[in-house]
Every structure is written in structure tokens, then in C-alpha cells.
């Protein structure tokens, strides 16, 4: 699987038309200059050799150097990934925390007005373009609600001028510049919410949260709707089973029947769908980040594709695809905990 992902990203990145040299150095770059450029970036070697070097480097965690920024891609990832992870995490948590209860209530109160409204919202939610919702939210919360306490910033991660202090500096840890440990800590401190949470800078924490509300609401709509619909149909399926009737006949309280007997058994398909939503979140991140002016992986990937920055395109697609596959693997493993009858071989 991993090899497949590597091959596909390599093939796609290499078949992007246009000469990276001309794209980077301008149309007027001479053959001589381009030859040197290609030699420096290893583009003069044969395609299989390039792939071999690329695969070997990736296994070592080295994604090469960005052609456009002349900086190691891994460093760029360390700067950009935390933002996307924070956004994706909040969006997914929101989708789960709102989607599942909505689905459960909808199934329990089937055909009631609550059910009809919930399903109307869910159906509209899956049909909505993320970027449209994002723009409309920005319009309502940044313009219409201006001068009210509900005002929210339409772009950026944090109010200009606020610079969060990395937690390792607050704690007075001595870290050597450019060391592995430095990059590792830098990665976590780039998650502003996480960083301000453990350093206790509540003002920054609140500011970061306020900036994250609109993008994460926009990003979570589709997963939320899908999770709500899946929860509803999965619950309906389970509520029809004989053991639910038995549980009720035993005189168990209805809440207990629903949560312990029904929901527990409906959880399997729900967890599958949550894993799959990660793909929606990643793809949505490209759109949401570009609308809300967030410097994350999604927007970077889009910019890199347009600029033919092969190393970034390759690295980012690999990271996203691997993240997606790993998350779904995690879901597969969680089956065994959700349903003890399933054994992992």
C-alpha cells in the first residue's frame, strides 16, 4: 500500500507539465543555468534512479528541498502541519460531538419534528460547498455582526501583533537550534491552541480559538452531516433488533436501553464513517485554508502544485495519504474494542 502511494505521488509529481527550472528561474533561464539547476536538484538522473533516491530519503524522513523556497520540505511541514492538524482535529471533534447526538436523537424520535429538522439539516449539510459556507459565515460573523460580541475574524490564525511564545521557552528548556529536539518541540508549539493551553496564556488561547471557530465550523459541516445520517440509520437498524425489545421488556430505563444496548451496537459503522471523514477534512482543508487565509498544509499543497514545486507536492501528498491510511487502520483496530467478537489477526 505504502509503495503504491509513493509510486502514484511520484508519477503525478513528475508528470506535471512544464520545466521546474523555467518555472523557478523564469522563462529566460539559459540551458546552461538549467543544466546546473537540474544537477543540483537531481533532475538529470533517470526516472527510476530518481524514484529510488526519493523512496530511500522518505524512509529516512527526508523529503528533499523545496525548489521554490530552497528550504528542506520537512521544515516547511513542521511549520505548516500543526495548523492543519489543529483545524482538522477541532473540525472532526465538532462533527463527532454534534453529529452523533443528533443522529441518536433523530433515530429515537423517529418521524418526529426533531427528526425531520435534523435530517433536513444533515441533507443540506452534505450538499453544501465548503468554500461557500465559509464565505457566507465570514460575511455574517465578520461584517453583519460587526460591533457585537459575536464578531469573529474572517481570516488569519491569530490577531496580528500577538506572537505566542513557544512553551519550551516559557519552561526555560535549553534547546540547541536546528537540532531534532528543537524541530520536534517547534512542531508542537506551532499548534497555538495547544501551546497557549499548556503555557497558560489564556488571552492567546481565546484569540486562537476565536480565529478557529469559523474555519472549523465550515470544515466540519459535511463530516457532521454524514456522521449524523450514519448514526441515525445505524441506530434505526439496531433499535429493531430483538434484544432491544428484551431489554425494554426487562423494564430497563429507556435511556439505558438506548445508550448501553443500542448505541454500543450501532457504533461499528459509525466509527468506520468517522475514519473515512478524515479524507473529507483533508480535502476541505485546501478550500477552507485558502478562504480563511490560514497558512496550513492544504493551501501550501495547492500553491505548490501551481508552482510545480515537486518535492513539496510529493511530500505533502504522501503525508496526507499516509495519515489517511493510518487513521483508517486505527479505526480497524478500534473495531476489536468496540465489538469484542472481532478478533485482530
Amino acid at each position: 500500500m505504502l509503495i503504491g502511494i509513493l509510486v502514484v505521488t511520484f508519477v503525478i509529481a513528475r508528470s506535471i507539465p512544464g520545466d521546474p527550472c523555467k518555472a523557478m528561474l523564469g522563462e529566460k533561464a539559459t540551458q546552461e543555468v538549467c543544466d546546473r539547476f537540474n544537477r543540483e536538484h537531481g533532475l538529470d538522473k533517470s526516472i527510476p534512479v530518481q524514484f529510488w533516491i526519493y523512496a530511500k530519503d522518505i524512509v529516512r524522513g527526508d523529503f528533499g528541498e523545496s525548489i521554490r523556497y530552497s528550504r528542506p520540505v520537512t521544515i516547511i511541514l513542521i511549520e505548516r502541519l500543526p495548523m492543519t492538524m489543529e483545524l482538522g482535529f477541532v473540525a472532526l471533534v465538532l462533527a463527532v460531538l454534534v453529529g452523533i447526538p443528533l443522529g441518536v436523537i433523530s433515530a429515537v424520535k423517529r418521524n418526529s419534528i426533531i427528526d425531520v429538522i435534523t435530517m433536513l439539516i444533515a441533507n443540506t449539510g452534505v450538499s453544501m460547498p465548503v468554500y461557500w459556507l465559509g464565505l457566507m459565515l465570514a460575511y455574517v460573523f465578520a461584517l453583519l455582526l460587526k460591533d457585537t460580541p459575536f464578531w469573529l475574524a474572517p481570516s488569519g490564525r491569530i490577531t496580528a501583533g500577538i506572537i505566542p511564545v513557544p512553551f519550551y521557552e516559557v519552561f526555560g528548556w535549553v534547546v540547541e537550534d536546528e537540532s531534532v529536539k528543537y524541530h520536534f518541540l517547534e512542531f508542537f508549539s506551532n499548534m497555538y491552541i495547544f501551546n497557549s493551553l499548556i503555557t497558560g496564556e489564556w488571552e492567546i488561547f481565546w484569540d486562537a480559538i476565536k480565529h478557529l471557530i469559523l474555519p472549523s465550523v465550515a470544515l466540519s459541516t459535511i463530516p457532521l452531516s454524514i456522521i449524523a445520517r450514519m448514526t441515525r440509520s445505524s441506530m434505526l437498524e439496531v433499535l429493531r433488533q430483538d434484544y432491544i425489545r428484551t431489554a425494554r421488556a426487562k423494564g430497563l430505563r429507556e435511556n439505558l436501553v438506548i445508550l448501553k444496548h443500542a448505541f454500543r451496537n450501532a457504533l461499528l459503522p459509525i466509527s468506520t464513517i468517522i475514519g473515512l471523514q478524515l479524507g473529507t477534512v483533508f480535502a476541505g482543508a485546501v478550500l477552507t485554508e485558502s478562504i480563511f487565509g490560514l497558512a496550513g498544509v492544504g493551501r501550501m499543497l495547492f500553491e505548490a502544485i501551481t508552482a510545480r514545486d515537486f518535492p513539496i507536492v510529493q511530500a505533502f501528498t504522501v503525508v496526507i495519504a499516509v495519515g489517511y491510511v493510518l487513521a483508517n487502520l486505527l479505526v480497524d483496530i478500534s473495531y476489536a474494542f468496540i465489538d469484542p467478537r472481532i478478533k485482530l489477526d
Partner: protein
């Protein structure tokens, strides 16, 4: 001997029209969501067909010098109190001084075309691959399905973006990219159906009668594998329209001045605070269209899948 097959055929036909087809139709009509989705869709198809009659202007006609109007003018509807001496533009005027309403109307054509063509292409290729994988099995199955798995490992929009970058921007290439990324979905559905149908008795009977592989696969197995494909296809159209609009929004799909909703939204996105109507209406159009296919697909699934029936 001659009369037997004819009689059988007649009976089969009778049986079908009395039962399967009518039962399906009846259960589709019982489905509220399929009915609502289907009705919206019929309206949209009518709008697409009669676009020239509905739209008051040519969608690509620039109105500078022809009418006294500013660019990005707000909607003006005479019935709702807009002064009679101003030209009527129900949804306002866009950044290039074109009638927004006419563009939204013509956009229906583009979006429906996108939906049907991409899904049609993906279904044909996906069915062939899935059928071959399921019928032949062995290494063919392995190679095809592993490749499909790899394609599925990428979030589909990202893969589509990457493919469009390789092929070059433009509506045609965007369509091809969306079709390619949705092939695995159909291949999987068909493979699953073929695998289970292959084991049924009527297939063995056909084999015993000396039916060739081609005959068995295309005349016996595939027709029975169609129903889940219809559901998947309807939902697939919804996804395809959303993805195509997203690609156009990013500037990779339909290029201006094509009246494509995603493109219209994308070119006015920075004006959301000054001319929100130019962002709102194309997006609303996308949502309604996608919603109609989603409702129809859900309803069809409930109608066809007996497990979900009450």
C-alpha cells in the same frame, strides 16, 4: 421445443412488469425524499433545457454601454419596489457587468452536464474493471483492486487537483480528473455484486448450457448487478458536481466566461463583503442541485434495498 423459450420470455416479461418494476416504482413513490429530490431534479432539467427562454440576457453578454448600470449592482426586482426606470436584474450584475440571473440559469446546463458525463464515464470504466476483477478473480482481481485501493487512499478532491495539474486546467480535464477519481467507487460496488451473483444457480445453469464467458458476464451477471449501481451513480453525480465546482472555484476547472457556478463564485470570492449576492446565489444553486441528487439517491437506496424497508 421452439415454443418453450418464447413462452418463457413472455412469462418473464409479465412477471417483471407486474412485480419487480412496479414494486420498485411504487416503493420509490412511497419515499418522500426520492419524490422531493426527483421533483427538484425535473425542475432543474427543465430549467437547463429551456434556459434560453428563461434567461432574460445572454449569459456572456457584457452590458457596459447597453444599459445604465454599475458593475456588481445589487439585485433589482420591479415587483419588490425597485424603481421602474432601472433595468431589472433579479440577482444583480456581476463584476464584468453581466446579468447574474442569466448566468445562474445557464449554469444549470453546465453542472448537469458535468454530473452526468463524469459519472457516465466512471460507471462504464468502473463496471468493466470491477466486473473483470470479480469474474476472473485471481491475480487480475488482485492487480485491479489493489490499484483501486491506492486511488482510494487519496482524498478524492486532492487527487483530482493533482490530476488536473498534470493534464492542464480547463473544464474537460477537470471532468476527466473527477471521473478517474470516482472509478474505484463503482468498480468496488460492481465487483462485490459480481462476486455474489457469480455463485448463484442461474449462472451455473447458464454455464451448463454452454454459455461463453462474455455471454455469462454481460447477459447474465451484469444486468443483475445494476440496482446498487443506480443508487451509487445518483449519489456519485452529487459528489461529482460538488467536486467540479470546487475545482472551478480554485481556478482549475471551467474557465471564465463559462457560466459555471464554481467559477462564478471563485471569481467574486474577494467581493463577498461588498457584493455578497454574487457569492450567495451561485453557491445556493450548487447546493440545491447537489441536494436533489442526494435526496433522490437516498430514496432510491431505501426503495431498492429491502433491508431498510419497514
Amino acid at each position: 421445443m421452439d415454443s418453450i423459450p418464447i413462452e418463457k420470455e413472455v412469462k418473464e416479461k409479465d412477471y417483471r412488469s407486474n412485480s419487480l418494476f412496479r414494486v420498485t416504482l411504487r416503493s420509490i413513490f412511497r419515499q418522500r425524499s426520492a419524490l422531493i429530490g426527483g421533483s427538484i431534479l425535473i425542475c432543474l432539467v427543465l430549467v437547463a433545457i429551456f434556459a434560453p427562454l428563461i434567461a432574460p440576457y445572454d449569459p456572456e453578454e457584457v452590458l457596459i454601454g447597453k444599459e445604465d448600470i454599475r458593475k456588481r449592482a445589487k439585485p433589482c426586482i420591479h415587483l419588490l419596489g425597485c424603481p421602474e426606470d432601472e433595468p431589472q436584474h433579479i440577482l444583480g450584475v456581476d463584476g464584468n457587468v453581466r446579468d447574474e440571473f442569466s448566468r445562474v440559469i445557464y449554469g444549470t446546463r453546465v453542472s448537469l452536464f458535468i454530473g452526468f458525463s463524469t459519472v457516465g464515464f466512471a460507471i462504464i470504466v468502473g463496471t468493466l474493471l470491477g466486473a473483470l476483477a470479480g469474474y476472473i478473480g485471481g491475480w487480475v482481481d488482485n492487480v485491479i483492486m489493489r490499484f483501486m485501493d491506492v486511488l482510494l487512499a487519496f482524498p478524492s478532491l486532492l487527487l483530482a487537483i493533482a490530476i488536473v495539474t498534470v493534464l492542464g486546467r480547463g473544464l474537460q480535464n477537470a471532468l476527466l480528473a473527477i471521473a478517474i477519481v470516482s472509478i474505484p467507487r463503482y468498480a468496488r460496488v460492481i465487483r462485490g455484486s459480481v462476486l455474489s451473483i457469480r455463485e448463484q444457480e442461474f449462472v451455473s445453469a447458464s454455464q451448463a448450457l454452454g454459455g461463453g464467458h462474455f455471454h455469462i458476464l454481460f447477459r447474465r451477471i451484469l444486468p443483475n448487478a445494476i440496482p446498487p449501481l443506480i443508487v451509487q451513480g445518483t449519489l456519485g453525480i452529487a459528489a461529482a458536481i460538488l467536486e467540479a465546482a470546487a475545482l472551478s472555484f480554485l481556478g482549475l476547472g471551467a474557465q471564465p466566461p463559462t457560466p459555471e457556478w464554481g467559477t462564478m463564485l471563485g471569481s467574486e470570492r474577494n467581493q463577498v463583503f461588498t457584493a455578497p449576492h454574487l457569492v450567495f446565489f451561485p453557491g445556493l444553486a450548487i447546493m440545491v442541485t447537489v441536494l436533489s441528487f442526494n435526496l433522490l439517491g437516498d430514496g432510491l437506496r431505501d426503495a431498492i434495498d429491502p433491508r431498510l424497508k419497514e
